[in-house]
């Protein structure tokens, strides 16, 4: 996908998220636009960096790093950026993604039918296993180092 197309898709997703942000969390669309545009700018910046920087680092890594840097306390304007982006509820950003993911999942239903029930049970236990394993370790260590 070329740069211009990516930009258009980001704007469409942003627009859908703004509507969801209003319907679900009563934040007016106008009020949330600046924060949303900041997110779009960060995303585009990350995609550009991934494209032109050496090392084949995925754009997601650049995006998270960029937005972390500009909101670290002490970075010029960090508080303003945080306040503006704060108008965009993160659940409102997740809902459209899962909408697209749901439609895409329709494609996997046939393969799911072919998967035996044993694998289905196994898959759920496997996810549970990693989750509970990580949660217990995290809990013990956080308590030892006094962060919770």
């Amino acid at each position: 996908m070329n740069f211009r197309d990516s930009f258009i898709v980001l704007l469409i997703t942003a627009a859908i998220s703004l509507v969801g942000n209003f319907v679900g969390y009563q934040i007016s669309i106008i009020e949330a636009i600046p924060g949303m545009l900041i997110l779009v700018a960060i995303a585009i910046g990350g995609i550009a960096l991934a494209k032109y920087m050496p090392g084949k680092i995925p754009s997601v890594a650049y995006i998270v790093t960029l937005s972390t840097i500009i909101t670290v306390p002490g970075f010029p304007g960090a508080a303003t950026i945080s306040a503006l982006v704060g108008k965009v509820n993160f659940l409102a950003l997740a809902t459209p993604i899962l909408g697209y993911a749901g439609i895409y999942t329709g494609k996997n239903l046939d393969s799911l039918k072919k998967t035996g029930w044993k694998i289905i049970i196994l898959a759920l236990f496997v996810i549970f296993g990693t989750y509970i394993g990580s949660a217990i370790i995290a809990d013990v260590v956080l308590r030892i180092i006094g962060q919770i």
């Binding site: 996908m1 258009i8 898709v9 980001l10 859908i16 998220s17 969801g20 319907v23 679900g24 995303a43 990350g46 890594a61 998270v64 937005s67 972390t68 500009i70 909101t71 306390p73 970075f75 982006v85 993160f90 659940l91 409102a92 997740a94 809902t95 459209p96 993604i97 899962l98 909408g99 697209y100 993911a101 749901g102 439609i103 999942t105 329709g106 239903l109 799911l112 998967t115 694998i119 289905i120 196994l122 898959a123 236990f125 496997v126 996810i127 549970f128 296993g129 990693t130 989750y131 509970i132 394993g133 990580s134 949660a135 217990i136 370790i137 995290a138 260590v141 956080l142 180092i145 962060q147």
Partner: protein, 271 residues
């Protein structure tokens, strides 16, 4: 990406889902939260050809190519939650790093269960990790995707794709409600290496503990990035060898003898 129908369908899904809003179901001492994102996913599946047939083959194909891109705004948002909390994240880094070894939990639970269910070498592929894209590629390279190991990893991959998000969302909310595990620990655990599963996990936690939103999302996103970085190495050096070891023990426990050595792998190792 110029599929206007697809975007309008998603807009419709979002409006309906957000209108329903967060549903909290009190259950004993705790609460299960169902989020708009879960409704959007389920409704999304329901408009595909197998059900209501509003979204057609073309919409499904186009949607698959867009998911990665639509995630970018959410990722940017996660970063803006990491920034302000960075000192606290760094202070918690021992926990963040060590909990990555929790992935071994998949093997501990998965391999014995798989053998108990009567699965053979599928157990190695299916239970060594949560079988995301990188793991599928790894098992494909090592055993071939048409092998029993490949069947296992692909099966778990598909099930995770269809049910993973919903499952992690509900699991996080149940564990938060019924166990003494701290929301921060559960947030870190949510970073399993899949952005949508992590989001479902942290979103459920945020719905229950709104005052901790910034820390919960920051921990989830950081842990998820770490899993993305170390996941494959964990699989190669730790999870697959451990799976093989545990598989032999579990196999002998069930069938009274050690399994036949895997043929395909030995051929590959001789190369």
């Amino acid at each position: 990406m110029k599929n206007v129908k697809l975007h309008l369908l998603v807009l419709g899904l979002v409006i309906i889902s957000e209108f329903i809003g967060v549903i909290s179901i009190p259950l004993g001492v705790g609460t299960i939260v169902l989020l708009p994102m879960l409704f959007a996913m389920i409704l999304g599946v329901f408009i595909t050809p197998k059900f209501l047939n509003i979204a057609k083959e073309k919409e499904m194909d186009d949607a698959s190519s867009l998911i990665g891109l639509t995630l970018m705004l959410l990722m940017a948002k996660y970063g803006t939650n990491i920034g302000p909390t960075l000192p606290k994240i760094l202070a918690s880094s021992p926990a963040l790093i060590l909990q990555e070894f929790g992935n071994i939990g998949t093997v501990l639970f998965g391999v014995p269960l798989a053998v108990l269910l009567g699965l053979k070498r599928e157990a190695i592929g299916g239970a060594h990790s949560i079988s995301r894209e990188g793991n599928v590629a790894l098992i494909g390279e090592r055993f071939g995707l048409d092998s029993p190991e490949g069947e296992g990893v692909l099966g778990v991959y598909i099930v995770g794709t269809v049910f993973g998000t919903i499952f992690v969302g509900i699991m996080a909310s149940l564990l938060a409600a019924y166990t003494p595990l701290h929301p921060y620990s559960l947030a870190m655990a949510s970073g399993v290496g899949s952005a949508s599963m992590m989001t479902a996990g942290v979103a459920s936690l945020v719905a229950m503990f709104p005052e901790m939103e910034e820390m919960i999302t920051a921990f989830g996103a950081t842990s998820n990035m770490l899993s993305g970085l170390d996941g494959i190495y964990m699989s190669i050096w730790l999870a697959i060898p451990f799976s093989e070891w545990l598989y032999k023990r579990a196999y002998r426990f069930k069938y009274g003898e050690f399994p036949e050595p895997p043929v395909k792998k030995e051929i590959k190792e001789e190369k």
